[in-house]
């Protein structure tokens, strides 16, 4: 839309400000005008992503354009990871007859989680007060407008922040479907995810990222467990990965597993999905700085290095152990690198990222190739092998590699433990995350099993979920 808003902007921003500062200054009691020096200091605070002045009225009460633009871009990038990134990454790996079911699951989860997030999810995660779960003050995005919420990000609109966080809440349950692909009812997926958000995601996200969360080591001085997780090793990858394992055990193996070929129907789609995941992950990781500042810059670099190195490592492992590096290996390494560096990216240096990349290429490789074969569970698309193993690995490596050189915020509440006992706190967070995911998912899975049911019947599974659950075919190529 065209605007000549210039003349009106004073008005605009004052409108915004009144809303924004409502909690600080009682309506009616106006703050004093700032001095010229204070105005300059606030402009500098914008550039530095520093704290706003609270004792005087602000001349720039809205979001700061550079940071706000960045977070809008990042929110779009994280959505891009799910739609179509993850949908293609997974969709390419299933058989042709089930490709649409994967796309429908990703789309349906995006819609469902949006509604839950709008209604209560955002509030349960980011509203005060509580160390396990937030409150209801932001329900229906009440009061969540274009002003910033200084508890989380000083220069980004809170409504943008809420959408950015929502994109994380969307991709997390979507990761789970990889483990049970090709053999779960559409209704079962939606019911499982709907419950899982309340039982696992919202509490975990609040505990790790909520300003008063139990495990928010960086920002909550009173947190019991001083763990750190920059962009979601626990909340996103461990939670989905461990839940995926439980769910796929309860759902059972695909019909014909081990007897009929279940080769990916399109490695091309899988590779497109991988590339989109990589690009989108910059929004996920560097965006988690919630500003376009130096910490974002650092996260951008560590993400890139760990990912590329994990990709090479995985492919090299294949080349050595079987004589051929595969596209799926290169892609799996990319995803494993991205997953593993996620909790670490804003806390480690580029050298730390290189170390993470090597581990990220090896451990998930072993999990997918050796462990799965040894134990025999049917984690169809390796959600457990990549996300649970990678996320757990990353969480622990972060405990050892995090350094205030990479992120000075680590020196505030955690100065005593970084480089020393931090890894113990990471283990604590690991334990809680796994326990919550495993127990929560098991309970929900049985609930679904005995209500709408988990699996299609044999005939349906043989025909494929696309036709059975959606009445469509992925390709009509005659």
């Amino acid at each position: 839309m065209i605007n000549m808003r210039t003349k009106l902007s004073g008005f605009v921003t004052i409108g915004v400000m009144v809303t924004a500062l409502g909690g600080l200054a009682w309506a009616g009691e106006a703050l004093k005008e700032p001095s010229l020096e204070q105005r300059v200091a606030e402009l500098e605070a914008y550039v530095n992503n520093g704290s706003r002045l609270t004792e005087v009225a602000s001349k720039i009460p809205g979001p700061g354009p550079g940071h706000n633009a960045w977070l809008m871009v990042c929110a779009a990038l994280v959505l891009f990871m799910t739609l179509p990134g993850l949908a293609l990454f997974y969709g390419g790996l299933v058989r042709r007859k089930n490709v649409l079911s994967v796309l429908a699951q990703c789309l349906g989860i995006a819609g469902l989680v949006t509604i839950l997030w709008w209604a209560v999810g955002y509030s349960l995660v980011f509203a005060p007060v509580g160390s396990i779960l937030g409150g209801f003050s932001f329900a229906f995005l009440n009061g969540v407008d274009s002003a910033a919420n200084p508890d989380y990000s000083g220069w980004v609109s809170q409504n943008v922040f809420s959408m950015y966080q929502m994109m994380f809440a969307i991709i997390t349950p979507a990761l789970i479907v990889g483990a049970v692909a090709e053999r779960i009812k559409y209704a079962a997926v939606l019911m499982f995810v709907g419950l899982w958000m309340f039982v696992v995601y919202f509490p975990l996200a609040h505990m790790v990222w909520g300003a008063d969360g139990l495990m928010n080591g960086v920002w909550n001085a009173h947190s019991k467990i001083k763990a750190i997780d920059f962009a979601g090793g626990t909340v996103v990858h461990m939670s989905s990965g461990w839940s995926a394992l439980v769910l796929c055990l309860i759902v059972g193996k695909r019909l014909g597993l081990g007897k009929t070929a279940m080769a990916p129907h399109s490695m091309v789609l899988c590779m497109i999905g991988t590339a989109i995941l990589w690009i989108g992950w910059y929004g996920f990781n560097a965006g988690s700085a919630l500003a376009a500042d130096g910490i974002a810059s650092n996260a951008f670099v560590t993400t890139t290095l760990a990912t590329a190195i994990a990709s090479v490592t995985w492919a090299a492992a294949e080349w050595i152990t079987r004589g051929k590096p595969s596209v799926l290996g290169l892609c799996s390494g990319v995803v494993a690198g991205l997953v593993t560096v996620t909790p670490a990216c804003g806390f480690v240096t580029s050298s730390g990222a290189v170390v993470i990349g090597v581990f990220a290429g090896l451990m998930p490789f072993l999990a997918c190739v050796k462990l799965k074969a040894a134990l025999g569970y049917d984690d169809a698309l390796d959600t457990f092998g990549v996300h649970a193993v990678g996320g757990t690995l990353g969480l622990i490596l972060t405990g050892f590699l995090a350094t205030a050189k990479a992120n000075p915020n680590l020196a505030t509440n955690l100065g005593e433990i970084v480089g020393r006992t931090l890894w113990l706190h990471q283990l604590g967070a690991m334990g809680i995350t796994i326990a919550l995911a495993v127990v929560g998912s098991a309970v929900i899975a049985f609930l679904v099993k005995f209500t709408v049911g988990l699996r299609p019947n044999v005939e349906e599974e043989t025909v494929g979920l696309d036709v059975v659950d959606h009445g469509e075919q992925g390709y009509v190529l005659e």
Binding site: G256, K259, T260, G471, E472, Q473
Partner: protein, 112 residues
Amino acid sequence: MKKIEAVIKPFKLEDVKDALANAGVQGMTVIEVKGFGRQKGHTEIYRGSEYTVDFVPKLKIEIVLPDNAVESAIEAIAAAARTGKIGDGKIFVLPVEQALRIRTGECGDHAV
């Protein structure tokens, strides 16, 4: 020599192949086909439009073999491909007058 043409359900291919191997058959040719018969297809809906896809994906197996091997091959296929549900398919036998292995130029029963 005879030619056996068998239309079967796709997911039975492995079983049929193994059964034929046990019956001594070493070569065959397989074709993806669409079957029309008693077994019905499915319905697809795209926005306002409804399409009835009334064919069912099947595989056709073709084997040429000496007269004396026909009986056992038919039995092997029939046993391996049967599920007892509609759509299990058919087996047809046709006469073959000549056969030739391109690589060696061998003819007749030796060629198959």
